[in-house]
Symmetry: C2
Amino acid sequence: MATHEPAALLRERGLRVTAQRLALLRAVAAHPHATADRIGDACRAELGTMSKPSVYDGLTLLVERGLVRRIQPARSPARYESRVGDNHHHVVCRSCGRMEDVGCAVGARPCLEASDDHGFVIDEAEVLYWGLCRDCRAT
Amino acid sequence: MATHEPAALLRERGLRVTAQRLALLRAVAAHPHATADRIGDACRAELGTMSKPSVYDGLTLLVERGLVRRIQPARSPARYESRVGDNHHHVVCRSCGRMEDVGCAVGARPCLEASDDHGFVIDEAEVLYWGLCRDCRAT
DNA sequence: CACCAAACGTTGACTCAGTCCAAACTAGCC
DNA sequence: GGCTAGTTTGGACTGAGTCAACGTTTGGTG
């Protein structure tokens, strides 16, 4: 389904459609929860060459425009994913760093209401579940 | 109240009581949500000298032993706080990075149940509310 | 088509948090 | 006093991410 194919998404956000950006979007979609480094590698495999700043700048731009989401768990470089807009969260393995998507148990917009917001206007609740994955528990 | 004064807490965890560790605990308590760097400064102000590795090693040890909690919001160095055990979360300002404590609206152990845990055994749910603080909204 | 400004992309140097390592020191214990 | 394990130190190092300056492409306009 091409209802929201990449090029259209970029244009909708006032961004030029470039080979790099398309490659970034494709790489993020193909490698969910990958680091900027790995995404850069994937783009380079496709395009031949892509500089480090281009990878970071491009990802930052896509994050700002809401096409990509950045997750930064403790003790790990930032990771990226293309599932945006729905309200899912992540489990992270304390041992190996593996990350998986999870829906939240508490309805559609869980935890979005803080009990005391200290005058903040909150636009996102980020939930990370920490634990051990099956493989790491086995060892 | 000295029901849980620092030296006793350290000994309970099988840790030697050293001037550095006491200073770390005091610094974390006195500067909630401070970075390792600021905590190091506070300790140095108290002790005269304390090396960078000592600050990091000490903090890591205290985190492992459950005396201090580490929070690592995206695009920010790790922060530390001494409120552990209770189930509170944090609001972070996207603009200035300010961080405040909040209780969660959804009962005592909110969101600790993921809808599908992918075989993970979860021991902690970390919730970050992102938004803009009053000061940054004013500008 | 020719020109121009704005947007893109590149290289290379740089910053900054955090870690590693080997050596020196200290405290408790025989 | 001498042992031994735990602590602390300085300094070098790593790795993620950013900056700045310079060249290149793109699309709009006359």
